[in-house]
């Protein structure tokens, strides 16, 4: 039987009248990657801040690494590592000094600390830049240093809050590989992201967070089965054509301002031909047609009642 490194039940948090987390439940088994997927403002960062002891919850029960978050925050802190969305490095210090600071705060013996710092610099490709102030680092280097600092204490549970937001594709791939290596070493990872692709690449389980609620949870494959294969976007020359098309297509979402329709579909050639056939039969003139692969909007469209109102 595997144990849960993170167990959350009925977690709630509001800032004033604004409800950020509206009762969420999560289970993360040891040695797995769990991804919390959601748009900006869905409550991802708030969840990480609560689970990492930075913020107190209004209600709910949380256990991290076997300790009750409210009663034993220090035991939780001793077991976790956090790398946030905004870099948590001292920019006036060099990369090596930042890592040594962490080694000192973890009370590592001098020789062991030095060894671990050198090892992490090597592993994260920072050996050459080790003596330069962190203020001169690129975004990708800062993120790697940040994560390396988190690893100095050998945490059993790691929180990564949008670890690749703002990174170029190459740095993003590097970061993914680092996460895979960590999991191979038995670490449990709680990852937030707004990229479906990232969750798909890394996560054993995904929870979709929308307006403070978990609207779906499962393995990437389970979730994908629940998400239709994207959508077709139709644009029309005038409102009359748009109205005519709406009468023909019952599952479409309309965007009157852009004179466009969004038609969910599985992306297959057959369904596309059927769609075109129906429009053709009724003589509806389509100005432009484009096929879109599944994205977060499709996830939300499929998993919530929310209609996509923007173009």
């Amino acid at each position: 039987m595997t144990t849960n490194q993170i167990a959350v039940t009925g977690l709630r948090k509001s800032f004033g009248d604004h409800v950020v987390l509206d009762g969420i439940d999560l289970r993360v088994p040891e040695g797995t990657v769990f991804s919390l997927l959601g748009a900006n403002g869905a409550g991802k960062t708030t969840t990480v801040r609560i689970l990492s002891t930075l913020l107190a919850a209004d209600a709910g029960e949380v256990r991290v690494a076997g300790h009750d978050l409210a009663r034993e925050p220090d035991a939780v802190r001793a077991a976790i590592g956090v790398t946030g969305q905004f870099s948590a490095v001292d920019k006036l210090l060099t990369g090596a000094e930042n890592l040594r600071l962490m080694a000192d705060l973890h009370h590592l013996p001098r020789a062991e600390g030095r060894q671990r710092v050198a090892g992490l610099l090597e592993r994260f490709g920072l050996t050459e830049a080790a003596g330069k102030p962190a203020s001169t680092y690129s975004g990708g280097m800062l993120r790697r240093l940040d994560l390396a600092m988190t690893l100095v204490g050998d945490p059993r549970v790691i929180f990564l809050d949008e670890p690749t937001t703002g990174l170029d594709p190459r740095s993003r791939r590097d970061m993914w590989q680092i996460v895979r290596d960590l999991v191979a070493g038995g670490v449990t990872i709680f990852l937030t992201t707004q990229y479906l692709e990232e969750a798909d690449e890394l996560a054993d389980r995904i929870a979709v967070l929308d307006r403070g609620r978990v609207v779906a949870e499962g393995t990437p494959d389970e979730l994908k089965r629940r998400i239709p294969g994207g959508h077709v976007r139709l644009r029309f020359a005038d409102p009359q054509a748009l109205d005519a098309a709406v009468r023909v297509l019952d599952r479409a979402t309309r965007d009157t301002d852009a004179l466009a329709l969004r038609v969910p579909g599985d992306g297959s050639l057959r369904s596309l031909r059927a769609l075109i056939g129906r429009l053709d039969d009724r003589g509806v003139e389509v100005d432009e047609l484009s096929v879109h692969t599944p994205d977060l909007d499709d996830v939300f469209l499929a998993l919530t009642d929310r209609k996509v109102t923007t173009s």
Partner: protein
């Protein structure tokens, strides 16, 4: 999880944080230079530009040399006030960066984040004071204190610095930005002017004189002046230490509360 991992090491963590702050001071020397420069400029202004005239107004009726002795203690206190302005700025810089959020999620003695700054500022104040007292001696400050008087003066300065640093740690945290943090401690630099720092209080109009005689900087300046010039200080010494204790305790409790409040 072994229980050994759950013990705290406030002393060791404070030394680690102190080392971090000293490194930051070395990397960002312009602030230190500016903070020492200000009192030195004021010293030169008051001794060479205003000293001749102000010295004539002293009870003893001296000139520039006499005034140098009168104003030096005020400038020395101003040095402490300038140093703690730097403390507030460093704290605010820390709070706006992510590194403090990282410290908060780590199993460390939390207070060490603040004590590291306090110790660093004490060291910085000692260096600044040595420089400013050195310049004061060069421009004609002639203290007559014996070893006991100097010891007392150093002790008093340490107490004042400790108190004002804790106050500045709170001010730095309460500031939303680095700019606010550099402005909030301004009154500390101005208060010596509204006391017996630069001219005797009996030359002031009634209302101002009342304020000047009771505000905390006046007994501190009087004590320091007495200790350095080997004159009796009466009850001023105890009043000064009382103010220091009150400000230090208030600043510490306020700082601790601010640090433990949760950020959004």
């Amino acid at each position: 999880m072994s229980t050994a991992a759950l013990t705290f090491h406030p002393l060791r963590d404070s030394v680690t944080m102190l080392r971090r702050n000293l490194k930051r001071m070395l990397r960002y020397p312009s602030m230190t230079v500016m903070l020492v420069g200000m009192p030195v400029v004021f010293l030169l202004l008051f001794v060479y530009v205003l000293g001749g005239t102000l010295g004539a107004g002293l009870a003893s009726g001296g000139g520039r040399a006499e005034y140098a002795n009168y104003v030096a203690p005020a400038i020395i206190l101003m040095t402490v006030a300038a140093t703690v302005q730097g403390t507030a700025i460093s704290i605010a810089m820390d709070m706006t960066e992510g590194i403090v959020a990282r410290f908060r999620t780590m199993h460390i003695a939390r207070v060490s984040v603040l004590t590291g700054h306090v110790l660093g500022s004490m060291i910085q104040a000692a260096i600044s004071l040595a420089v400013v007292i050195g310049v004061a001696l060069l421009v004609g400050f002639r203290p007559t204190a014996g070893p006991a008087g100097w010891l007392g003066a150093v002790g008093l300065l340490a107490a004042v610095t400790f108190a004002l640093v804790w106050l500045a740690v709170a001010l730095g945290q309460v500031s939303e930005s680095v700019e606010t943090a550099s402005n909030l401690p301004m009154p500390l630099i101005l208060l010596p002017f509204l006391g017996s720092g630069f001219v005797p209080t009996d030359s002031m109009p009634a209302g101002l004189r009342w304020f000047a005689e009771y505000q905390p900087f006046t007994p501190i300046i009087e004590s320091l002046r007495g200790l350095l010039m080997a004159e009796p200080i009466g009850s001023d010494g105890w009043v000064a230490l009382g103010w220091c204790a009150a400000v230090a305790l208030g600043g510490y409790l306020w700082s601790r509360r601010l640090f433990n409040r949760e950020s959004r």
